[in-house]
Symmetry: C2
Subunit: 366 residues, 2 copies
């Protein structure tokens, strides 16, 4: 049997999986058309609607990781030649632009420095100028720790006949995500962040407007695997076979969502905020400051600047080897300059904050 | 906690997951760049090479089900306008044609009646006539139970500058798959058939010729999620982050492959053949015959004709309700006319054959 160490996952995801979810994963496999499994799928949809705060009928989990969710929204909603406005202020905005382009979009990038957020007024002006078919924004930029305000964008998108797509991979279940209130037309997330289920599934939700756009397509969706016009008939009442669903992963997601809703979304958001504040205070005492814009830092992903003269990779290695703690390295322009300390879902606890601060204090010799 | 019944899975997949694999799935989640996980990935690659009987460096598991593996081979190897010859004699050949078309291929279908196999001479003639960039064949057509001989196609493909793609979703681990000996350039499988790991991953392998075709592309691969030109840098020594791998599912695949290799491929193939023969003999006594061509029936998927006057769905329902046994319904033109009895991987046992025969005897009143 494989020998897997017990880590404490305080990186950019995966977060620690609670024992209840690990146990659910190990339940016996049943068929993807078994009545018991179909019931489980219905329950997952209902729970995801609560977590996304939406009444969207088309809410479910795609059979791939968060990046498959990203590709799902663009592959289904972009037709070749469509203008797509993408906010790029980190790795995942850049990835959205790449994915949209591969789907045939004419991509217009709105750019901002890494670590900062967009002023919503600027985004709205860009929508009015570009008149895109789609505007796509990252809510929680995992590469920079920036928390993007998005409550005014949906209205402007609607007024300009654009769909509003939101990347909620890192925010869902850890900070408010208000699909209906914000007028989001399509959103995707991952299971391995604030939902604390292992990676492998991507919760998605699509508004009625988005589904109308899909129904009006002139061309087939370029991805068969991610084609919602077929997948909706499996998750819906038709139960038409499309592909074999990842059965055991969906057991895990069901249990993870149950845990999220038992705690309650507001309690969960408060916990994430409180733990981030505790971490920030402790890091300040070690002389470590944030790489993300003041007042716009994510509670579940703390991107902090590596102090001058400190061996960035060496500290991460000592955390892993001596304490079994994983934190994340910087990506892209933040490579070698930033650590990413995740406090996501089950990993966001007083115990873990105290531990990582104590370990850093010892390693940095403070 | 979710309440999952203990089924006996004798359908077209998933097959029963052995306890060791279920236990592996429930090991603690670790990071996708953790040195322990990277070591596990290397071991998975080595084991998959043995199971595929290949020395292909580019052998690994895609983060999606078997259909994602199908899309991977076409999305990476087809460029718009490429001629692709696809053998269609069931659902999965039809799916390949659909997927190839969505990737921009000009698809030429070679068709044969459901349940039959192609004569290899006919396939070779079609290759010489069409001169396609790619010829794609299903090795084990799960919708019809037909076992396609493919040992002569690779040579003809090579002689005509075509790549040879093979769907091994249902055959891998249950019947000989000889990637190198047969000259296969790209193949994909699923985990939930004869490997007896839950669904969610797709083992794939690509020859050096196929990787050269990929490297020579003029356009980006249309799918970011499945783009091997990036994914190879994560599974390879660079360990460059692409997407977050489905960690716990890969624990399961590692254990499932260990079990396959402990038994030994030849022993495994012999077991599948012997159990299929036992089932066939027992079904004959119940007056049930095969829907697949004589001499070309798959040992792991038995497509059999529903006897006249028998309630097709009613029998399946009684098997599930009274015995906890799942068998599969017919798809497409076989809908309502055929049962698909799978004896895949761990499910292929003397115990299960005896049980399903006894249950059918009772239900059919024989």
């Amino acid at each position: 049997m494989i020998n897997i160490p017990q880590r404490i996952l305080l990186g950019p995801g995966p977060s620690d999986t609670p024992a209840r979810v690990l146990e659910a994963l190990g339940r016996p496999t049943i068929g993807h058309l078994d009545p018991v499994f179909l019931q489980l799928m219905d329950e997952i949809r209902a729970k995801l609607k609560e977590v996304f705060r939406t009444s969207n009928e088309m809410t479910m989990a795609m059979s791939g990781t968060g990046s498959a969710g990203m590709e799902t929204v663009f592959a289904n909603l972009v037709e070749p030649g469509d203008e797509v406005l993408v906010g790029v202020n980190g790795v995942f905005g850049g990835r959205m632009a790449d994915v949209a382009g591969r789907c045939g979009a004419v991509v217009e990038k709105l750019e901002a420095p890494w670590g900062t957020v967009f002023d919503q007024g600027e985004v709205i002006k860009a929508i009015e100028r570009v008149k895109p078919k789609i505007v796509a924004i990252v809510h929680a930029e995992t590469s920079t720790g920036a928390h993007q305000p998005v409550d005014r964008i949906g209205e402007a998108a609607r007024a300009n006949a654009a769909l509003f797509l939101l990347d909620c991979v890192t925010s869902l279940g850890g900070a408010p995500v208000e699909i209906d209130k914000w007028g989001v037309d399509a959103a995707y997330s991952g299971t391995q962040k604030c939902l604390s289920c292992p990676p492998g599934l991507s919760p998605v939700t699509f508004s009625a407007r988005a589904m109308e756009r899909l129904a009006a397509r002139k061309q087939k969706v370029q991805s068969w695997y991610l084609d919602l016009s077929m997948i909706k008939n499996y998750w819906g009442q038709e139960r038409a076979y499309h592909h074999t669903a990842p059965i055991n992963m969906l057991y895990g997601l069901h249990e993870a969502l149950t845990i999220v809703l038992e705690e309650g979304l507001e309690n969960r958001f408060n916990r994430h905020r409180a733990m981030a504040a505790m971490l920030k205070e402790g890091l300040a005492k070690l002389g470590i400051s944030y790489a993300s814009q003041e007042g716009h830092s994510l509670p579940m992903l703390n991107a902090v600047t590596v102090p001058d003269g400190v061996d960035e990779a060496g500290v991460r290695r000592r955390l892993l080897d001596d304490y079994g703690i994983e934190i994340g390295a910087g990506l892209g322009v933040f490579k070698g300059k930033v650590w990413r300390i995740g406090l996501m879902g089950y990993s966001s606890s007083r115990r873990n904050v105290a531990l990582v601060l104590a370990a850093l204090r010892e390693i940095l010799g403070k």
